[in-house]
Amino acid sequence: MANPLLKIEDLHAAVQGKEILRGIDLAVGAGEVHAIMGPNGSGKSTLAGVLAGRDSYEVTAGRVTYAGQDLLEMAPEDRASAGVFLAFQYPVEIPGVGNLYFLRAALNAQRRQRGEEELDAADFLQLAKKRMKLLEMDDTLTRRAVNEGFSGGEKKRNEIFQMAMLEPKLAILDETDSGLDIDALKVVAQGVNALRDAQRAMLVITHYQRLLNYIVPDYVHVLAAGRIVKSGGKELALELEEKGYGWLEPEAAAV
């Protein structure tokens, strides 16, 4: 890959002095879907958080280049405007802030930042209706406060609804499948697939091969103890499903 959209080199990150990411190298090209699997606590969400700009992590070494820019230098909102989107493993409830209001504020903040024209109320609602249909979202949900009192599955669906509204270039989905029932999983996966195109890259974090039946990845990586210990094609996910992580590096199995 000559100029990947995202290039992670020897990335180390720590939380409260404890090193969680211990040298990650990964290149993701436009149009590619990479799945990241790995045991609990191996650092998957940490990696996602570092990429989105969560400031509770301290990057101790390495670099991340996104669309030719030093990603780690950018504020979270600037990363968003540049096209980075994180679907949270645990979406946050924000009582008192309306879902649609928030999305419109976010979308227009991004557009302003990119020097594009803001969407007016009518255009915004039209777009929202289209995306709600794609994700089979009930409008009683979108009219409520952000994630407030949403069920686990509703929160995950709302993350993908937001992604569909914001149309990022790099989407990082952190265990979007957990909490979804079988039907919801299909709907959400369809939503994600509808957004797949040659310009957009995705980093799909999951524990289950099942999701990858719907969102078929180009590459699968195994993250263990803060390192990528194995990479392969989509067959790797099947192999992991069958054998678990024990057959990989002893270090990985020990986590």
Partner: protein
């Protein structure tokens, strides 16, 4: 050891006797002709009570956080006459905060009923309203009800202070069964005077008839930045199965001293929603005493206080469950910035007869600076055994995780912070039934923090 050291030290003075200036001011009122005998008698007793006890100092258990005596004794306050033409003109501009509401309105300037700025023609069916003193001219016996709930002999001597000095007040009566959609407005404007700070002692008497439903809003405003004192008393009677929503909106200037007492009594199966919304004032002290006096009564106490700079806000509430199957929900929320200080004391009393009481109390504070101080002091006194009663208080900063969530979607750091402050307040506003007042406050607070006007149609707060 000498005998002297064995005798107990004298008890600290919990009250101070009012300054002589108040005596002269009262003499002028007592000499006023034309007031009915029942009122003159009430005023005399009230002033006697005040003189005997005086203003509470911070040695008084109920006033530890707020030394009212220090404020009330520092300077004498002038009791203004009816507003002159100039004051009326100034008042006119401010008099209709709810102009767009278009509903009935009683306006008072420095405590005097001001018909020119009021809207009492074509009251909705089932509503009677007017100035307390005028009402009595017409042969009503309402004055006799004054003080039935707000006792001039009580610990809270500010009630006696009000009763001795009040210039006039609002009376609102909802007929049994009346369903009133229009919001009934009571607006109090303070002119602040020139040089000497003024005082006003607004008074409200609200009677909600059996099975009625209505909304009453009291709004307190200053016409300029001059210091003044407001010492208001509201008495609310909610008859069987009636539903009353009552909001008290304090938006006086930040030099004002605002003291209030709201006393309510609910009959069986009635529902009362009391909102205490405090934004203004250098020093604010609100007392709410709610008695669930019939079985199955429900009360909501919803408080929001926003204080910055050196503002001080002290909310004391008493929820008195006297009868079985009562439900009370008490939610107070504070947003503090600068060097603001606030206090919340919530007393819940469940009397022996009040079995199956269900009471919930919470006080949440959002602290935006490191120099502000919030206090919470829940007091549960439970004398029945089959009750559910919970309480909690929190003090916290902006939620970092929520902040990151908003920013990760592209909302700038500053805007995200402001949205979250608004959201904290919006939750309290969300407990008001949908009304023009709620919409107006949402708009005002949204702009206050974000500097933007909320988008039309898109509910900024959701829900």
């Amino acid at each position: 050891m000498s005998a002297a050291t064995l005798t107990a030290p004298p008890a600290p003075a919990v009250y101070t006797v009012p300054d002589a200036a108040y005596e002269r001011a009262f003499a002028a009122i007592a000499a006023r002709s034309g007031e009915p005998a029942v009122l003159r008698q009430l005023r005399r007793s009230a002033f006697a009570q005040l003189q005997q006890r005086g203003f509470p100092t911070s040695k008084h258990e109920e006033y530890r956080q707020t030394n009212l005596a220090a404020v009330l004794q520092r300077s004498a306050f002038a009791l203004p006459e009816r507003p002159g033409a100039a004051a009326l003109r100034a008042a006119e501009r401010a008099a209709h905060p709810g102009a767009a509401f278009g509903g009935p309105q009683l306006t008072f300037v420095d405590g005097h009923f001001t018909p020119e700025l009021s809207r009492l023609k074509s009251l909705p069916a089932g509503v009677r309203a007017g100035a307390l003193l005028a009402a009595n001219d017409a042969g009503d016996d309402r004055l006799a009800r004054l003080g039935e709930l707000a006792d001039i002999g009580g610990e809270n001597t500010l009630v006696a202070f009000n009763t001795a000095f009040f210039s006039d007040g609002a009376w609102v009566e909802i007929a049994p069964g009346a369903q009133v959609d229009a919001q009934i407005e009571i607006v109090h404007l303070a002119t602040g005077g020139a040089g000497v700070p003024t005082m006003a002692h607004p008074r409200q008497l609200i009677l909600a008839g059996r099975g009625s439903r209505a909304k009453v809003v009291e709004t307190y405003l200053s016409l300029n930045g001059a210091a003044h004192l407001t010492n208001a008393v509201t008495e609310i009677f909610v008859a069987e199965n009636a539903e009353l929503e009552h909001a008290r909106l304090q938006q006086e200037n930040t030099a004002a001293c605002h003291i209030s007492a709201v006393h309510s009594r609910q009959a069986a199966d009635s529902r009362l929603r009391l909102h205490a919304l405090t934004f203004g004032g250098a020093l604010t002290r609100n007392d709410v005493v709610t008695v669930l006096h019939g079985p199955g009564a429900e009360a909501l106490l919803n408080g929001l206080y926003v204080a910055e700079g050196r503002q001080h806000v002290d909310n004391h509430t008493v929820l008195d469950h006297a009868e079985p199957r009562g439900a009370s929900r008490e939610y107070y929320r504070g947003i503090l910035d600068g060097q603001a200080t606030t206090a919340f004391r919530g007393r819940i009393l469940v009397r022996p007869d009040a079995q199956h009481t269900d009471a919930v109390q919470s006080d949440k504070n959002l602290l935006l600076s490191s120099d502000c101080t919030a206090n919470a002091d829940p007091q549960l006194e439970i004398r029945a055994d089959d009750v559910r009663c919970t309480h909690g208080a929190t003090f916290g900063q902006i939620d970092e995780e929520a902040l990151f969530y908003l920013r990760s979607r592209g909302v700038g750091a500053e805007m995200a912070r402001h949205l979250l402050i608004f959201a904290f307040a919006a939750e309290a506003l969300g407990r008001l039934n949908p009304s023009p007042l709620r919409t107006r406050l949402e708009t005002e607070l949204f702009s206050r923090w974000t500097g933007l006007t909320p988008p039309e149609g898109a509910e900024a707060s959701g829900g």
